[in-house]
Amino acid sequence: MERQNEVLDNVIIKFAGDSGDGMQLTGTQFTNTAALFGNDLSTFPDFPAEIRAPQGTLAGVSGYQLHFGSVEIFTPGDSCDVLVVMNAAALKANLRNLRKGGIIIANTDGFDPKNLRLAGIPEGQNALEDGSLENYRVIKMDVTKMTRAALAESGMGTKEIDRAKNMFVLGFLYWMYNRPMEHTEKFLNEKFGKKPEILKANLDVLRAGYNFAETREEFTTRYKIGPAKMQPGTYRNIMGNQATAMGLIAASRKSGLQLFCGTYPITPASDILHELSRHKNFGVKTFQAEDEIAAICSTIGASFGGSLGVTTSSGPGIALKTEAMGLALMLELPLVIVNVQRGGPSTGLPTKTEQSDLLQAVYGRNGESPIPVIAAATPSDCFHMAYEACRIALTSMTPVILLTDGYIANGAEPWQFPNSSDLAEIKVNFAKASGDGTKFLPYKRDELLSRPWAIPGTKDLEHRIGGLEKQHETGNISYDPANHEFMVRMREAKVDKIADYIPDIVPEVGTNKGKMLVLGWGSTFGAIKSSVLKARAQGYDVSHAHLRYIKPFPKNLGELLYNFEHVLIPELNCGQLIKVIRDKYLIPAKGLNKVQGLPFSAEEIFSKIEETLK
């Protein structure tokens, strides 16, 4: 059969179906296969908060967007090229994100009268039949029927058979994009090795999907997307939460401290706990506490005892931890608080992304309570920033807040992982008794204004610490007015001093001087970078700088900002970093804000750049 092979440099596929249809697994499998093939990629899982939302409804649609290519990829992409829909609701929810001329792969069984009704589609209308999709290329197939046919001899029940439907779609797409199936076969072998019947069923359906495409003449085109020209080196695929967990473990190893994570399950942060709890052979102790408060308090206890203490959560949980964060800063103990941000306020949008906890992190405590704040930009950057959070906490004896968000926490990208020997040193020296009989001063400070860490079990360093204001050096309770102001300013100065050992900010794209700087922080990295590259290609004088250190800012930030006529700050909130920037540098920065639980598209940022500079 004559088949065309079309070469593309990048493709965006969205897998969408019922939350029980296995779309996340299908997406992850395709992602890993693309990664191992050498494509650059970025992903965006988008699922409902309900574990099993009502079947067939719009609320129950679970999606997974994958952008992969032979070129550099910075975002999961704006509109998709291929939309895989397992039912009518999935099509209805996602059609607006499909580009004109794009491909729809539809499971016709998901468009029966019942599914159409559940999706809220008026009677008598069915997009697959009524010609309303004429601007797209529609590939219809009855996945359910073909899956059942493939497993007719298996002796399995219909319900079990139907669970393998996603493998049919995956097999079909592997054919379409010339992908080998080995990775998924290996995965299935590991997952179902102990259940040979289910293993065989999944493998059979995967191959059935592939063979279906191979034998049907109507599928005339296959696509080729070559490996990306990335920096030479060895890569792996990584998700943000996984990277955060690994960054923490790496810091524990490099500092020689036991890692203790006291935490409470919360979306979208729980995967950090899951990952950490798998690595007990690294001496990692995880403690699933009774609530968010106990989570951070247990961690403070561990930190007092000489562990590297970490607590992980998301907005509502961080709110509960606030008082204890104040205690940690008063005790001046190292502690890492990870906030995987989600849509707020209150319970908000648990599975959606937002950057609206920045002001909470910087200012949200009683009293004058400075805590360093840093933020990760991409899934793999979570590793580096988690490591940095530990390094700062241990170097300056302070709690540190690390901000990530649902978008990068669940997103994946290729990662040129480091060698452990390349990671920055983290030196920890527990205090030892002087031996000359002088009294131990628990709040005596070193050149970084950091205090000694004297852990229980150390002879002759017995001392008491607490949340009441302390006297300089002795740490005894003090109500002296002048001492209070001195200590308030001391704690602030200590945090400011961190700027002495964090890197300067260097533009990611463009130059140190010019017409416009797009200043970002956190997960907007990819969208900003893509849009700025596009604008520069069109001749606009625009650069991109990305803040990873928010409190304190890098020392050269002011200088950089003053070098540009316009400063644009895109944020997934109503304008938070911009308040801090305006306050500190008194510049007329402009914001670009979006609060929809969704990331920016590169196009949205590009339009704003164009509008300003045209």
């Binding site: 190893r253 690294f282 403690f287 403070i300 206890g301 079990g457 610490i465 005894n476």
Partner: protein, 344 residues
Amino acid sequence: MENPNIPVEKFTAKDLTTDQEVRWCPGCGDYSILKQAQTVIPDLGIARENIVIISGIGCSSRFPYYMETYGMHSIHGRATAIASGLKASRPDLSIWIVTGDGDGLSIGGNHTIHLLRRNFDVNVLLFNNEIYGLTKGQYSPTSEEGKVTKSTPMGSVDHPFNPIALCMGADATFVARSMDRDPKHLQSILKRANEHRGASFVEIYQNCNVFNDGAFEVFTEKSSKKNETLFMESGKPLIFGENSDKGIKLDGFTPVVVNLGEGVSANDCWIHDERDRVKAGILSRFFDNPKNPNHLPRPFGVFYVEDRGCYEEKLQQQLTEAKSKKGDGDLDALLRGRETWTIN
């Protein structure tokens, strides 16, 4: 870790006093508790540097400042949570939690019950004065119904907690009650609490002479103590009264007071067995208001003891098992993951 080959350096009660002035109100029951702790702790065979005292907020929570050990005066209600993390990460330490009825049963009630069910090997000393002292006199979760205080001018409508029954319900493995005014008894209970491997809960009746003076005087004053209290000793009959002339018998599951001598001897009474959960449950309910006629005496001593594995040991075992199965963690292998690809 304690090295059994090196004898622990001896220290005295005096070595446990700090340079900080004790600032409880004169006449406060806390002074006695501090004194008993300072008397008992040097004899426990624990190195001073391995002792950590953690408190929350409240009058009792000033305790760590007066003990020359490691200590933390933390935030309201959270001493138990902080101690949980410290014990989980440092099983070698001897950890004492000092809390009160407001700190440990109101704002921190949740952490208290969870610490008990997890059974960390720590000692919880709950100073119960049935009032909020540090905030100057509001009713607490252990104040009796109808209590008139600053925040309840018409009397409290709250039903109080029975701390001992609460701890039994939380599956605590060591549950005891003592009082500030009986130094010998308190010392013996502190020793027992320390000996127990697991979470030891000790409720200590403590008089707040400023805001709730005499709350426990019926149990502590000579004139009424013998008739109103029941000092439990395992293996011995439950006997009380001015001349040890009264006893407790069980009529089915119902405890009844009997007069000894009228054809009833001490041996006919309920013999206390601190390992009997059902009977400990019944004893925990000896909680009547002493003003009620036909009330039962208030028990003191050890209600219940059980041997159960401690959280920190089980956690440590999992780490040991993981290391023996997978080998000590290799950071580079972790970073590399299972699948990689190389670009030349």
